[in-house]
């Protein structure tokens, strides 16, 4: 395979001795997780060039941001990356709180952390099932959704929605967490570790999975840096970059958790990072449940009509797929002047063209699965 790679790079623009053909993948392809289109130039089974073509689910979020008041844009945030809706809402309320200098009560921050981490586990469960069904095993999908439903039940009891929560408000939360939620979360924290151990025994140690992922799709730390890839992709390349540590927000500094990294930089490393991250999320939830105290869940003085002081503000969070940042420019009016959403999947996918050169197609799809793409998150 390595030798093959060299011969390919010798003839990168279709001038080589081998005949090439163009294979169009998508925009409706079951392995592309949505409406991603990849225009591949193939040399037999080998990819000479795989260029993602995006925009098939561009939904004008940034334009909408300029047409809506701050509060009215809030529901949109859970629809950008619908699998980690909590994190995205967190970034948006965070940027408004930063601009208005609103102090969020401790209880609200703890509940935000708990729900965010629950959401992260739910998101990773979907990724896990989807990756394995890409690789040919549908059964884990059923298990993954089973565990995910437990999380969704908890979050639904809290805010009424299963997927698009829109639970955080400027200065606090939509409503307080009741004992049902807290006890349910405690039960879930106990329930999940044996399941994760089972997944490790059944799937992660499975020789077929290892053969499909190990040494497949290497993405070095340097490549991550050049493309701005974040999240499990850069952590799978051995760099402990995590917004929760590097730009601490909310009450994350109060928790003791590890940032899992693997230096191998292959698809398996990214797989293992996510599996370990779920354990760390459970640890965070466990600590948060111990530390949470009674108190108000909304800041006392949040203006009814929100007008931010002029200027630009950023707020970044660690979403399930990596660094998500909201950059706003306010001109002092009731609506943002400009709203930029920096989404992790966009940067993570942008390295696909370079990383997939010289791979065989099934391996490239395995690597794409390990990037954990959510297409509306790319297109926005």
């Amino acid at each position: 395979m390595i030798a093959r790679k060299d011969s390919l790079s010798a003839a990168p623009d279709g001038q080589g001795p081998q005949e090439t053909f163009v294979l169009n993948l998508g925009p409706q392809h079951p392995a592309a997780h949505g409406v991603l289109r990849v225009l591949t130039t193939m040399e037999g089974e080998w990819i000479q060039r795989a260029e993602p073509v995006i925009g098939y689910i561009h939904r004008m979020h940034e334009k909408m941001g300029e047409n809506r008041t701050w509060a009215k844009f809030l529901p949109n945030t859970s629809r950008i990356d619908y699998l980690s809706a909590m994190h995205y809402t967190h970034a948006f309320v965070g940027v408004v709180e930063r601009a208005l200098k609103i102090e969020v009560p401790a209880r609200a921050e703890y509940i935000r952390v708990i729900t965010s981490e629950l959401n992260r586990i739910a998101s990773h469960m979907v990724w896990w099932g989807a990756l394995l069904s890409d690789l040919g095993g549908l059964t884990p999908f059923l298990y993954a959704f089973d565990d995910r439903e437990k999380i969704l039940d908890l979050l639904e009891g809290l805010c009424g929605a299963r997927l698009t929560y829109c639970y955080y408000r400027f200065g606090g939360l939509y409503n307080d967490a009741d004992d049902d939620f807290l006890n349910g979360t405690r039960a879930f924290v106990k329930h999940m570790p044996p399941r994760l151990r089972m997944y490790r025994d059944l799937v992660s140690d499975n020789i077929i999975l290892r053969k499909r992922l190990e040494e497949i799709g290497p993405i070095s730390a340097e490549m991550c840096r050049r493309y701005g890839a974040t999240g499990p992709v850069i952590r799978g390349a051995g760099v402990a970059y995590d917004v929760r540590r590097c730009e601490p927000y909310s009450v994350y500094p109060k928790f003791d958790f590890k940032i899992p990294t693997y230096p191998q930089a292959d698809s398996m490393a990214r797989y293992l990072v996510r599996m370990d991250e779920m354990e760390q999320s459970l640890r965070i939830i466990d600590q948060a449940l111990d530390q949470i105290t009674a108190g108000p869940f909304m800041a006392p003085k949040v203006p009814r009509v929100i007008k931010l002081p002029p200027g630009d503000y950023c707020y970044a969070v660690e979403a399930a797929r990596g660094r998500f940042m909201v950059r706003i420019v306010s001109d002092g009016k009731e609506m943002p002047y400009r709203l930029k959403l920096r989404t992790p999947s966009f940067s993570n996918l942008s390295l696909f063209e370079e990383a997939s050169r010289g791979m065989i197609l099934p391996d490239a799809l395995a690597m794409m699965g390990s990037l954990d793409l959510v297409i509306p998150d790319i297109d926005r």
Binding site: H33, R59, M60
Partner: protein
Amino acid sequence: METPLKSMGQPTPQSFQPGPQPAPGSERPVECSQIAQFAKLDDLLALGRSYSLWPLTFGLACCAIEMMAAGMARWDLARFGAEVFRPSPRQADVMIVAGTVNKKMAPAVKLLYDQMLEPKWVIALGNCALSGGPFNFAGQYGIVEGVDKLFPVDVYVPGCPPRPEAIIEGILKLEEKITGKRHFPVAKLKE
């Protein structure tokens, strides 16, 4: 089926809108069954079709996750015979348009619909597929405001996203439409 929890705009089974029923032969190609009627055989075929609907694996956006959830163990669409998701339009009977269709994607969606074999049905899932949903605002430049602008829709399922119960109810509605008779009980809401 229980009442949805704190209502956050979640649909109740009653709120389904009936789709616009195309007059026979007006929008659909004339089927053999419209020329020659074999009453009992047709009924039998319809019954068979309605309980073995093969949906197209076709996720667009958020609603697709709920569609997947509906097929998984908790909600188990298999109880109603619609769990065999086929990736190829040639093998599918029903297209569940789950998510936003934008102008770049619209030709591809239309092509998929055209590639499906008769008889075929369409379920528009979620507000985006109904009308553009949250992305339908004055000055929008990108989305198709409802998939019924592209091809006829048989069942509309509102919600953003619709709950899995609503998706199952949509399938049941479609089965009712195919056979002309509701075989499963209608969920009753508590007053």
